[in-house]
């Protein structure tokens, strides 16, 4: 028993409407200025540091993103911190807002499916975030050119562009989470608080907790302790647990993409390093391969969160 017509009927209309709402909203403007100002601060710190220290670096341009100067963190740290905030800010009242304004039943009485409304809201949020992030990326590259005075190589552009794409995917994960909670909770304030709370737990508390849980699951071997070395089993378990957090995944991808000398994102045995030229950069393809599982993991998380929200939304009553 198929239902008639396409699930995406009206999708474009919803995306355009939501996009124009986002781009003209005060909320978005505040978030954009916040991001731009903080990014500029980080960039300024990075450029000062680069001017002071680095004489010869084949990937000088990528240092723009990763170098930090006390007390400011690096650009990527700021991004990994702010992108979830932006995504949550755009998504936390997506569906419950329609409920509370009592527009939901009126819109759903038009010849569209709920699919189009929810997916349209997700796409519009993602496009909004993408626009801001692309602008930010161009800003960094442009300022880098002006202030360092060395043009970036093709590989540096490629790597930083992939970093941009991954950041958009990372934003998609948080947007899907915010959308899910906006479906679950009728009150926008509740949804915002719970999403932000979850973000705090996932980003800051979970890494600490993962270490503790790993000690319980795989207790450290006394022989390794005697040698002053971490137990491989404990380290592996801790890493597996940490990778449940999209923040960890994002961090690992960023390291692999922006630091070409990264050869592995997990623990390595000395035997595996035999014949390796330490500190030699990997080709771009190899770096992508290293980060691939993390990238796929983030995409899968975003899809999973969206699907859960979708299923709940389909079964929800539209009446106020």
């Amino acid at each position: 028993m198929r239902r008639e017509g396409s699930a995406f009927q009206g999708l474009g209309v919803v995306v355009l409407k939501e996009l124009s709402d986002h781009l003209t909203s005060v909320r978005m403007r505040v978030l954009e200025w916040l991001v731009v100002l903080i990014a500029l601060a980080a960039l300024y710190g990075a450029i000062q540091q680069i001017k002071d220290t680095t004489a010869e670096d084949p990937f000088l341009f990528l240092r723009l993103f990763t170098t930090s100067r006390q007390p400011l963190p690096a650009f990527v740290s700021f991004i990994s911190f702010l992108v979830p905030l932006m995504a949550i800010g755009l998504g936390f009242d997506a569906v419950n807002g329609e409920h509370n304004r009592r527009t939901l039943s009126r819109i759903l009485a038009q010849p569209i499916y709920r699919d189009a409304l929810l997916f349209g809201k997700f796409l519009a949020g993602l496009v909004t975030l993408a626009i801001s992030l692309v602008a930010l990326w161009l800003l960094v590259i442009g300022l880098g050119l002006l202030l360092i005075g060395i043009p970036p190589g093709a590989e540096e552009i490629g790597r930083s562009f992939l970093f941009l794409l991954v950041t958009i995917i990372y934003a998609g994960v948080w947007l899907a989470l915010a959308l899910l909670f906006s479906v679950l909770f009728r009150s926008a304030a509740t949804a915002a608080l719970i999403t932000l709370g979850l973000w705090l737990v996932i980003t800051f508390i979970w890494p600490v907790l993962a270490g503790a849980i790993a000690q319980i699951i795989a207790p450290p071997d006394p022989r390794y302790i005697a040698l002053g070395l971490p137990t491989p089993a404990t380290v592996t378990t801790e890493q597996i647990l940490e990778r449940f957090s999209p923040s960890t995944l994002f961090g690992e991808v960023v390291v692999a993409l922006l630091d070409p000398t990264t050869r592995s994102l997990g623990p390595i045995y000395l035997t595996q390093l035999q014949g390796a030229v330490l500190g030699a950069p990997l080709p771009l393809g190899e770096s992508i391969l290293i980060a691939w599982p993390q990238i796929v993991g983030m995409i899968a998380t975003a899809i999973l969160l969206f699907v859960i929200g979708y299923v709940i939304f389909q079964r929800q009553e539209v009446r106020a």
Binding site: M1, R3, E4, G5, Q9, G10, V13, V14, K17, D21, R101, R102, T103, S105, R106, I107, L108, A109, Q110, P111, I112, Y113, E317, V318, R319, A320
Partner: protein, 324 residues
């Protein structure tokens, strides 16, 4: 009513868990008819409406809207049916016209067609001067009218209105009912739900009284009056003349006479006895000041009906008054 049926519900049922919100209801609405769903809050009116629109699943029974099944062909139904939800909402920061533009795009009207439809619809509900004002500044009555404009713009064959007059002042209510009558004259069928009985009585061709998920009574207001109030006519007379009441009691068909004041008499009869009563007054050379028959009021029908229903009808009726 041309006899063509646009909405047909047969044994329509909606259950939440084990509780039935709507319990095997059946009704039909004809083309150009104004059909009222009346009943206390929580009697199942809105749920019925949502099932007709395919916005909530149907647990059991069959329903056809313009020949389409709302559960399987919701897009076809929603393209032809306009819906004004209970306390309709709009995007406050957008203008009235922009709100309608969004809906028009969702429906899929072409750009050229769109502007003309929007302008015509806003004009018909008297909001043409407010087309570019943000809806955030609108009063409740204006929002309801904008909701009706949306239905007009859609060119809907059926307008489904959920509590269209609740919370409106008398002036706004009168304007709204006028627009609803306008729907009928254009051949649009109207299904409206309400708990404001006297208002609804003036526009509805037929009504269905809801009670705890079932249709308790259905028919025109006059039919329901005969059914519930015992088919009696009440005639009020104000006239001079000694012994008037006694003479009026002798008119065939009069079952009771009641003095309601000085020179005022109320007759209970099984038919309209106004001609005979007038003749009597004139025959005894009394001066006739007033002669009128009471139309059966929906309020009276409703009150009487729920009085005779045993299970908790009193509390329900109070609930209605409170909400009204």
């Amino acid at each position: 009513m041309s006899g063509e049926i646009v909405i047909e519900a047969d044994g329509l049922t909606k259950t939440y868990g084990r509780a039935a919100a709507v319990d095997h209801i059946s009704f039909t609405v004809g083309r150009g008819e104004i059909f009222g769903l009346l009943g206390p809050n929580g009697a199942g009116k809105t749920t019925t409406i949502l099932m007709l629109l395919g916005l909530t699943d149907i647990s059991d029974g069959k329903v056809r809207v313009l020949g389409f099944d709302p559960a399987r062909q919701p897009l076809s139904v929603k393209r032809r049916v306009g819906y004004l939800p209970d306390t309709v909402g709009f995007y406050d920061q957008l203008s009235a016209a922009d709100n309608l533009r969004y809906t028009a795009r969702l429906i899929g009207f072409k750009a050229a067609d769109r502007e003309k439809r929007i302008a015509d619809a806003l004009d018909q509900v008297g909001l043409a001067d407010f087309a570019d004002k943000p809806v955030g500044t609108f009063s409740r009555g204006m929002r309801q009218r904008l909701g009706l404009a949306e239905i007009l713009m859609k060119g809907a064959q059926i307008a489904i209105l959920d509590e269209p007059t609740s919370g409106l002042d008398p002036q706004a209510t009168a304007e709204l009912l006028q627009i609803i009558r306008g729907f009928k004259s254009e051949g649009v069928s109207v299904l409206l739900s309400s708990h404001l009985l006297d208002r609804v009585q003036s526009v509805c061709d037929r009504v269905a009284l809801f009670s705890a998920g079932r249709i308790a009574l259905m028919g025109s207001v006059a039919e329901l009056g005969r059914q519930v109030l015992g088919g009696g006519y009440v005639v009020d007379i104000e006239a001079d003349g000694a012994g008037l009441a006694e003479r009026l009691a002798l008119i065939p068909g009069v079952s009771g006479v009641e003095k309601t004041g000085v020179g005022k008499v109320r007759l209970h009869a099984d038919r309209d006895v106004r001609p005979e009563a007038a003749t009597e007054v004139v025959a005894m050379q009394g001066r006739l000041k007033y002669l009128g028959v009471q139309e059966p009021s929906l309020d009276a029908i409703y009150t009487r009906f729920f009085e005779t229903q045993p299970n908790g009808a009193t509390t329900r009726r109070e609930g209605v008054r409170h909400a009204a």
